[in-house]
């Protein structure tokens, strides 16, 4: 497969996943605003903080009201991580590999793009954000379903899956971080009913609430953290994403599992191995925020290794005859 094509499929997938997760971020706060008392502070502001965009936001929008934050996260093309920007980037990548993906995939990406673009008047979205975001998430899921059922599960598909899962691992970790680091307005909230409400909201926005319930029943922060970080079967947990991304990398290279021939396999194998045998107490001892920070750093390195190993065309070995 052409390096440029693999690169585009990988990023197309990542951007779609990113867009979907932005919708999930908005969701978590929407749930919180409904459940928490007013004195809990402005939950919308926490989203801006999580994006590290306080200064820019203050300049362009002023106050972090729901309307402003939704506008910034959903429609603002100046914000490179807004849903509109992600979809635009996903679609540009898809456009450059249209001959490789199925036409159904292209049509769906195009429809999602047009849907956000033509939502046009953000006022309509602000009126009923739940409807818009749930529709939007569904259209991302539809894309995924179409991808799985219409594209050969060969090299290109594996690049797409690896990209999607690395992005998802990163996004799930960020959402945990928002809860733990940003939403923790006062220390005396920890362990209070409000705290549990926040954890429940987090689970809901990751579509993990019911699956968590089946596994642990009671909402206890330590268990929630374990479920979202270390569970190996829930498809949005960080561990699961790493396991499946590793599978795809090995499917691409043909290297047997448990061995490595390039930095990507080495780094992801090591990360997976550590997570395979990690205990949640290790994570909490390290500090949840610190653990997540390190995890994100390692995903960044991994992304760089993927680029250098598979996509960088400036240095290129010759295929043996």
């Amino acid at each position: 497969m052409l390096s440029r094509v693999a690169n585009s499929i990988y990023w197309m997938s990542r951007y779609i996943e990113r867009a979907e997760n932005v919708a999930r971020f908005v969701d978590v706060v929407r749930h919180l605003v409904l459940d928490l008392p007013d004195e809990a502070g402005n939950q919308w502001e926490s989203l801006v903080q999580a994006a590290g965009a306080e200064e820019l936001f203050a300049q362009q929008y002023g106050e972090a009201t729901m309307a402003n934050v939704i506008r910034y996260l959903t429609f603002d093309r100046e914000n490179p991580d807004s849903i509109a920007s992600c979809l635009w980037a996903a679609r540009e990548n898809a456009r450059s590999v249209r001959e490789v993906i199925s036409s159904e995939m292209w049509e769906q990406i195009n429809r999602a793009y047009l849907m956000v673009k033509d939502a046009g008047a953000p006022a309509r979205v602000e009126e009923d954000p739940a409807a818009f975001f749930s529709h939007f998430k569904k259209s991302c899921h539809l894309f995924l379903g179409i991808t799985d059922t219409t594209m050969t599960h060969g090299e290109g598909w594996h690049f797409g899956r690896a990209g999607r899962l690395l992005e998802r691992a990163d996004m799930t970790s960020r959402m945990i971080d928002v809860k733990y680091y940003v939403l923790l307005p006062r220390l005396d909230y920890v362990g209070s009913p409000y705290d549990n409400l926040q954890w429940a909201a987090l689970l809901k926005s990751i579509s993990a609430f019911e699956m968590y319930r089946k596994r642990y029943q009671q909402i206890i922060p330590k268990n929630v953290a374990e479920f979202l970080i270390l569970d190996s079967h829930f498809p949005r947990s960080m561990h699961y994403c790493v396991i499946k991304a590793e599978e795809s990398i090995h499917a691409i290279t043909g290297t047997p599992g448990g061995t490595y021939t390039n930095p990507v396999e080495q780094q992801i194998g090591r990360l997976r191995g550590e997570m395979d045998y990690a205990h949640i107490q290790d994570v909490l001892d390290m500090g949840l925020h610190e653990y997540i920070d390190t995890f994100q750093g390692r995903l960044n390195d991994l992304g760089q290794a993927v680029f250098e190993t598979f996509f960088d065309v400036s240095v290129m070995p010759k295929l043996p005859a």
């Binding site: 497969m1 052409l2 390096s3 440029r4 094509v5 693999a6 093309r77 635009w88 540009e92 456009r95 450059s96 249209r98 001959e99 490789v100 036409s103 292209w106 049509e107 195009n110 429809r111 047009l114 090299e155 690049f159 691409i252 598979f310 996509f311 065309v313 290129m316 070995p317 010759k318 295929l319 043996p320």
Partner: protein, 494 residues
């Protein structure tokens, strides 16, 4: 909606005869349209447009950073060509392409046609599109123009003329294939009963034409489509064709010359490429052979090509026959190489580098169409009857300064075909671009791209100038259908 009051006066109409009756092949369609409940036709038009938007059959509006896109304007009323007309077109095109291919080979080879003075030597010497780098080239199988899109027009009296031969990178065939898909959805019943000849095997034939060129000894050739990239206005088509053929779509930066072969950069290293369907002009394909500043091409490509280790379609240099002065001599080529009379005539053409012709052109600018010899896409044109005195004066100066650059033709009253305008039909001018593949044999796609000048009264059909498109139905004779089926099944069993 019905055709009462539809006006065909003064022009040849493709669907109605001069007494206002539907032509034989169009009768069923007209009947069906007239029977549709009010508003239904407009709904079908809108459904077709929505489908195009969702399928991303669009072009970017330049200068709009928000990425505005428009669909290529499309009218759902098909243009219909009857079997007799088509037979002549098909024969005429085969004859023409045969002669053009011989001509290009001769021009870059022995130049017999010049030595025998069947064409003045000056014509070629002065053609911008003559590539001296191609002299002595021996392209695979002796073929130069594998893919041609010839522009045909029909005059008031029904006579069909060749307006242009496009031998470089003719585009538009993807719209033919997409338009057909849309029309099958729009008029399923009429379609089924009308014996419309199929166009859907084009991609299949194209990949066969390309693989035919593979270097000897390559059993399972790797074929690619080379595109300038996503910013090119024809990118949709490049990617569409690659997808339909199931081959890689590459950009210049994906290719590299290594150890005397063209290689593409893959996730597993370099892999050899055998046939390149290039959608990049000669000037840009190899900065070492042509324009040094080209960022789109592959350095060293021409050397590999010269050594027969990669095939290019169309062959570099084939564009020499696109020159509008050279065009004027195609009937002479047909006589010279084939000893035949041309089946499809040229539009009469005045060559401004001939003193006599130039005097005539300068004296009659207001009745002529003046064209630049090397432009395409409807640029660099003067349409005399629609021009101002100032424009004519400017063109006269240009002609005097560089007579070789200009040709002139009488204004042809292009035939018209009905399009939907609001709640009624109006006639709009159309042309036709059939696509011709030259591989083991010559195949003319039954139909082609019908371009339509959507602006009232306009004669310019180019999409860059407000043109749109229509599906083109070539109606089959009943007995001939049987023949086609037989040959197709023979081909499949081979």
């Amino acid at each position: 909606m019905n055709f009462r009051g539809y006006n065909t006066d003064g022009f040849y109409d493709e669907l109605f005869d001069e007494s206002g009756r539907p032509r034989t092949g169009a009768a069923l369609l007209i009947q069906k349209i007239e029977k549709l409940p009010s508003g239904d036709l407009v709904r079908r038009q809108q459904a077709a447009e929505a489908a195009m938007m969702n399928l991303g059959i669009t072009f970017a509006v330049y200068g709009d950073e928000q990425g505005s896109e428009k669909i290529i304007p499309f009218d759902i009323i098909p243009r219909i060509i009857e079997a007799d007309d088509w037979r002549r077109i098909e024969q005429g095109l085969k004859q023409r392409i045969t002669a053009l291919n011989l001509f290009i080979g001769d021009i870059y080879g022995e130049q017999k046609i010049l030595k025998d003075k069947a064409i003045p030597e000056d014509v070629i010497r002065s053609a911008d599109s003559f590539r001296k780098q191609c002299v002595g080239l021996k392209p695979p199988k002796g073929l130069w123009c594998h893919i041609t899109g010839t522009d045909l027009i029909r005059d008031r009296d029904g006579q069909i003329y060749v307006l242009e031969d496009n031998l470089r990178c003719p585009s538009g065939v993807s719209y033919v294939l997409e338009n057909r898909q849309l029309l099958k959805r729009t008029f399923p019943k009429v379609f089924e009963k009308s014996r419309v000849r199929p166009v859907d095997d084009y991609a299949n034939r194209l990949v066969r034409t390309l693989e035919h060129l593979a270097p000897d000894g390559v059993a399972d050739p790797t074929t690619v489509v080379l595109t300038p990239g996503t910013f090119n206005s024809a990118y949709f088509e490049h990617s569409f064709l690659a997808q339909q053929m199931g081959v890689e779509l590459v950009e210049g930066k994906d290719l590299v010359v290594s150890d005397g072969f063209v290689m593409m950069r893959t996730t597993r290293g370099l892999a050899r490429v055998d046939v390149i369907y290039r959608r990049i002009d000669d000037d840009f394909i190899d900065p070492r052979a042509f324009r040094e500043d080209s960022m789109l091409g592959v350095p060293g490509l021409m050397e590999v090509y010269r050594n027969g280790r990669v095939a290019l379609a169309n062959a570099p240099g084939a564009g020499v026959a696109d020159d509008k002065v050279v065009y004027a001599f195609v009937p002479d080529m047909i006589k010279y190489y084939l000893g035949e009379d041309p089946i499809l005539p040229n539009v009469p053409t005045y060559l401004c580098w001939r003193d006599e012709d130039r005097q005539h052109v300068l004296g009659n600018l207001e009745t002529l169409v003046v064209k630049s010899a090397n432009e395409s896409g409807g640029y660099g044109m003067l349409i005399g009857p629609a021009s101002t005195q100032q424009e004519r004066d400017d063109f006269a100066e240009k002609i005097k300064a560089k007579p070789r650059n200009f040709v002139a033709q009488p204004v042809v009253s292009l035939s018209r075909s009905p399009v939907i305008v609001g709640d009624h039909f109006e006639g709009r001018h159309v042309d036709l671009r059939p696509y011709v593949l030259y591989g083991e044999d010559i195949h003319v796609m039954p139909g082609g791209l019908t371009r339509v000048a959507l602006r009232k009264g306009s004669l310019v059909v180019n999409s860059s100038q407000g043109g749109g498109s229509k599906d083109t139905w070539v109606i089959d004779d009943a007995p001939e259908t049987a023949d086609v089926l037989v040959t197709q099944s023979q081909q499949q069993s081979e």
